[in-house]
């Protein structure tokens, strides 16, 4: 099967400024790929290279087996830009029809169905739409021609939780139908529920590609336990993966590296009244990876 995305040594410099360095990545059909990284890490640069908005400095990029420079390749793709700007004077429906025609025709019923799903009003001029409502229009246009490969740059920005759920449901449907999605985010929580694999990019380099399950397991997280009565410290001392342990009366807090199994089993001997496990912080995941990466890459970091 042809990979949906296949890049090798893909590099982009904006003059002297580095955008992306030496990206080698494969995304398979039917996969939802989460692309994570802090702002300015190179996510949008990668996405623009995949869509031929910008051209690589070095390296190769193939999308759906073809060159993204060919209109025929782009016809099979959908795209939601990260900073979406719409034609302000147009009504949403006119703009969507125009984009649909340019992509070889989209049935009006499909646009309506998507609009209904996201509860989007297509009849008002787009300048009157709020950020979230503009984002809905952006999502509709990205999905409406049923592309084989959908690229979404920060898709959930500005969406309310209800629409976010609807959006994630749509992404799952797309995956079920065998199509492929790449979505970027700077928040792991946004992509982890729907992604199969996650790539982490930092300072222009892809530092890790992991299955989401593995990533979660590796992730550092903060755990707080409250018991009915004070607990002895030695019950929690020296548990595998547990760091920064603090025991204060009936409260225990620590950081877990990897599986929480040992801690849970230790805690099960007492009566637990309250448990908080903070979502793994992306920044901390980065740090975990980054500290590993530095050993591998001895390149001097350009300023």
């Amino acid at each position: 099967m042809t990979a949906v995305v296949q890049t090798e040594g893909l590099t982009k410099y904006y003059g002297k400024r580095r955008g992306l360095e030496d990206l080698t990545l494969e995304i398979q059909p039917g996969e939802v790929f989460g692309y994570l990284g802090p702002n300015g890490a190179g996510k949008t640069t990668t996405i623009r290279l995949l869509l031929d908005v910008i051209r690589p400095t070095r390296g190769t990029v193939r999308v759906l087996g073809g060159d993204p420079r060919e209109p025929a390749t782009r016809a099979r793709m959908g795209y939601l830009p990260g900073d979406l700007v719409l034609e302000e004077r147009d009504r949403a429906i006119d703009y969507l029809r125009f984009l649909g025609r340019a992509r070889g025709g989209v049935p009006a019923a499909r646009i309506e169905a998507l609009a209904e799903r996201f509860d989007a009003d297509l009849s008002v001029p787009m300048r009157k739409l709020s950020k979230g409502n503009k984002q809905k229009i952006g999502l509709i246009q990205a999905f409406m021609h049923e592309p084989e490969f959908v690229i979404l740059d920060e898709p959930t920005a500005g969406l309310d939780p209800l629409v976010q759920q609807e959006f994630l449901a749509l992404v799952r449907e797309v995956r079920t139908s065998g199509r492929t999605v790449l979505m970027s985010s700077h928040v792991l929580a946004e992509v982890e529920n729907v992604s199969d694999r996650v790539g982490i990019v930092r300072a222009g380099r892809l530092v890790a590609v992991e299955n989401v399950a593995v990533l979660r397991e590796k992730a550092v997280r903060r755990v707080e336990l409250h018991f009915e009565s004070p607990v002895p410290r030695d019950a929690f001392d020296d548990l595998p993966g547990v760091r920064d342990l603090r025991v204060e009366g009936a409260g225990v807090s620590c950081t877990i590296d990897g599986r929480p199994d040992a801690l849970i089993k230790a805690a099960a001997r007492f009566t637990v009244v309250h448990l908080v496990s903070a979502e793994p912080d992306l920044e901390e995941i980065f740090l975990t990876y980054y500290s590993h990466e530095e050993a591998h890459h001895d390149h001097p970091q350009p300023a």
């Binding site: 904006y14 031929d52 910008i54 051209r55 209109p71 979406l84 034609e87 984009l99 992509r103």
Partner: protein
């Protein structure tokens, strides 16, 4: 794509067409007075403007004849300048403005070849300027008949063809600069400098020896030296303008095709 571009500019185009038409109506309507007392207005005009300024206005030798008046107030400066301004505005809307605002990013990801995109935007520019000049041509011809200025339609058509060509030329300059740099300010600056310099060279510059040769790079030379209102269509000169426009448009296509958009 072309329809879409035309839709985008329909209001701007309507207002500019109305504006230029109003200008022509206003200025040609005073010709009646001049025609009645040429001995009064002719010398008065000449006295009012010192030498170089007179050159800048295209000489003013012949303000009192129909063709002379039409040349001076309509075709010498104001109407071509207005049309060039309009053309620059429309050309900027084609690529540079959408690139700066960000709407172009989605457009270039559509399954439309970049070269075709530029050609479509160029075609829309040509059509828009055709509308602008066709309407104003009818207005000018109508006014000439109304005030009995006695200039045959064929000559007005020849003059107006020049307006279309020079507006299209500068519009294409803006389009090309915009396609190459993606910046409105650069496009407008290139047009602005070339217009002022080109116009100055063919008017004041005519009598200055050192810079007279510069007229060959001034579009205004090809626009006006054939005196279309007096002598009819200057085919050679106009072909130079049209040819230069085509070369520029192709440059725009190539420049845009090989460039990063929106960075």
């Amino acid at each position: 794509m072309i329809t879409r571009s035309l839709r985008d500019v329909r209001w701007v185009l309507t207002w500019w067409t109305a504006g230029v038409s109003a200008f022509i109506v206003l200025y040609l309507s005073v010709y009646g007075n001049i025609k009645q007392s040429p001995e009064l207005y002719g010398p008065a005009m000449l006295a009012k403007f010192p030498g170089p300024l007179r050159d800048l206005m295209g000489g003013l030798e012949d303000m009192t004849s129909g063709a002379g008046f039409l040349q001076t107030v309509v075709y010498q400066l104001f109407v071509p300048m207005l049309c060039i301004a309009c053309a620059t505005l429309l050309a900027n809307r084609a690529l540079a403005t959408p690139e700066e605002t960000g709407t172009l990013e989605l457009i270039v990801t559509l399954p439309v070849d970049r070269r075709r995109l530029v050609l479509a935007r160029f075609a829309a520019l040509v059509l828009s300027l055709l509308v602008l000049t066709a309407v104003t041509l009818l207005v000018a011809a109508g006014m000439v008949t109304l005030v009995s200025a006695g200039v045959p339609f064929g000559r007005i058509l020849a003059g107006h063809t020049g307006v279309l060509l020079i507006a299209l030329f500068y519009g294409t300059v803006a389009l090309t600069a915009g396609a190459a740099t993606g910046r409105r300010i650069v496009a407008s600056a290139v047009v602005g400098v070339w217009v002022v310099a080109g116009y100055a060279v063919t008017t004041i510059g005519r009598s200055v020896e050192g810079i007279a040769w510069l007229k060959w790079v001034s579009p205004f030379h090809y626009y006006s030296s054939g005196r279309p209102l007096y002598e009819g269509l200057p085919v050679g000169d106009y072909l130079v303008l049209a040819g230069a426009t085509v070369v520029l448009a192709l440059t725009a296509v190539l420049a845009f095709d090989r460039r990063d958009v929106g960075v």
